[in-house]
């Protein structure tokens, strides 16, 4: 259940981004999760609710954007087929090991909060 620790880090990063931009309470945070990152979105969302509950950002949403790994076979090219709940290790056509790239993302992408940044308020 390392999602608890990850949710706490996501909250720390998002709150810092909002604070740096003069913002108020968080509305939503969007994260990219790769399918090889060993993170389950429902567990992460559950942990996120626990992380923000009872604080000034209670109710802030977490949006998970799923990023897929790419699997390539040297002979057959990109393989779109997936093993259930995981990724394929061997090419379904020729049984050779697949090269797997990407899919390890675990990034904060977007932070949405109420209130406008100082510089935009000044320019308005």
């Amino acid at each position: 259940m390392h999602e608890i620790g990850l949710a706490a880090e996501i909250y720390r990063i998002a709150r810092a981004v909002a604070d740096e931009n003069g913002g108020g309470p968080l509305e939503s945070v969007t994260v990219a999760v790769g399918d090889l990152a060993a993170v389950e979105p429902p567990l992460l969302e559950f942990a996120w609710r626990a992380a923000v509950e009872g604080g000034p950002d209670a109710g802030a949403g977490l949006v998970v954007e799923w990023e897929r790994a790419r699997q390539d076979c040297a002979a057959c090219g990109e393989i779109a087929e997936r093993a259930p709940g995981s990724w394929l290790r061997l090419c379904p056509a020729c049984d050779e090991p697949l090269r797997v790239t990407g899919g390890d993302a675990l990034d904060v992408l977007r932070v949405v909060f109420s209130g406008a940044p100082e510089r935009e308020r000044g320019a308005a």
Partner: protein, 230 residues
């Protein structure tokens, strides 16, 4: 409403601490291995045997992650090397900041080691995601756990440079297809090294000791000149 686009790694704070550790270990030429396995696969037993065999030739130290008890660190101390327990409370993995803090608190006892052995919390999933500044991860799989585990827990076997199959003395008593496991690991991680050992009988242990000594020599040879003369 304001929207700010960032692209910040969730584990950036851990990655930064791990970078600091890796830089420090490079200066001292300390080989660092991060052992990951399910509970009961024989991490501590492997390290006890390692301590007994290599402590006369190399300066070893251990960090042991567990939810509770300092039993593992005590076992390594009894085997003759300095070791510190890191109690995670309930957390299922070690992170780089815990390694930093433990090394700082131990001070000279764990400074400038030849080899630092980090025994992660028994868990095949979560520790995989956390860089501890190690040179490489070592996955342990005991033959009693079953021969389907590399494909069931692919992330750790894909990331570990070395997989040690333990309790090999029990092979005659269990249905464990060694070739199938070796093939699964090769499919997930073609350059990975696979060792078959029994810490109890000593079978295959020379290969493990030689691997540590070779990797330690390689690390030592790569110490920046400025650090040697300093």
């Amino acid at each position: 409403m304001t929207e700010v686009n960032v692209r910040e790694k969730v584990l950036a704070a851990n990655a930064s601490a791990a970078r600091g550790l890796r830089d420090a270990f490079r200066e001292t030429g300390t080989l660092v291995v991060n052992l990951i396995s399910s509970p009961g696969s024989g991490k501590t037993t492997l390290l006890e045997a390692t301590a007994r065999e290599l402590k006369g030739r190399l300066r070893l130290g251990g960090l042991d992650g567990d939810i509770a008890t300092d039993r593992d660190a005590q076992r390594l101390r009894d085997a003759g090397i300095p070791a510190r327990q890191i109690l995670t409370g309930g957390a299922c993995h070690l992170d780089a900041r815990q390694i930093e803090a433990a090394l700082a608190e131990e001070g000279e006892r764990l400074a400038g080691l030849d080899v630092l052995l980090i025994e992660n919390v028994g868990n095949l999933i979560c520790p995989t995601s956390y860089d501890l500044g190690e040179d490489f991860k070592v996955a342990l799989l005991s033959v009693t756990e079953g021969d389907d585990k590399p494909f069931k827990y692919p992330a750790i076997f894909a990331k570990a440079a070395v997989t040690v199959l333990t309790k090999a003395d029990l092979l005659p008593h269990v249905d464990f297809d060694l070739d199938a496991v070796v093939n699964q690991i090769a499919a997930l991680n073609p350059p990975a090294r696979v060792l078959v050992v029994s810490a109890r009988t000593g079978q295959g242990m020379d290969g493990w000791f030689a691997l540590l000594e070779e990797e330690r020599a390689r690390k030592r040879a790569a110490v920046p000149a400025a650090a040697v003369t300093a």
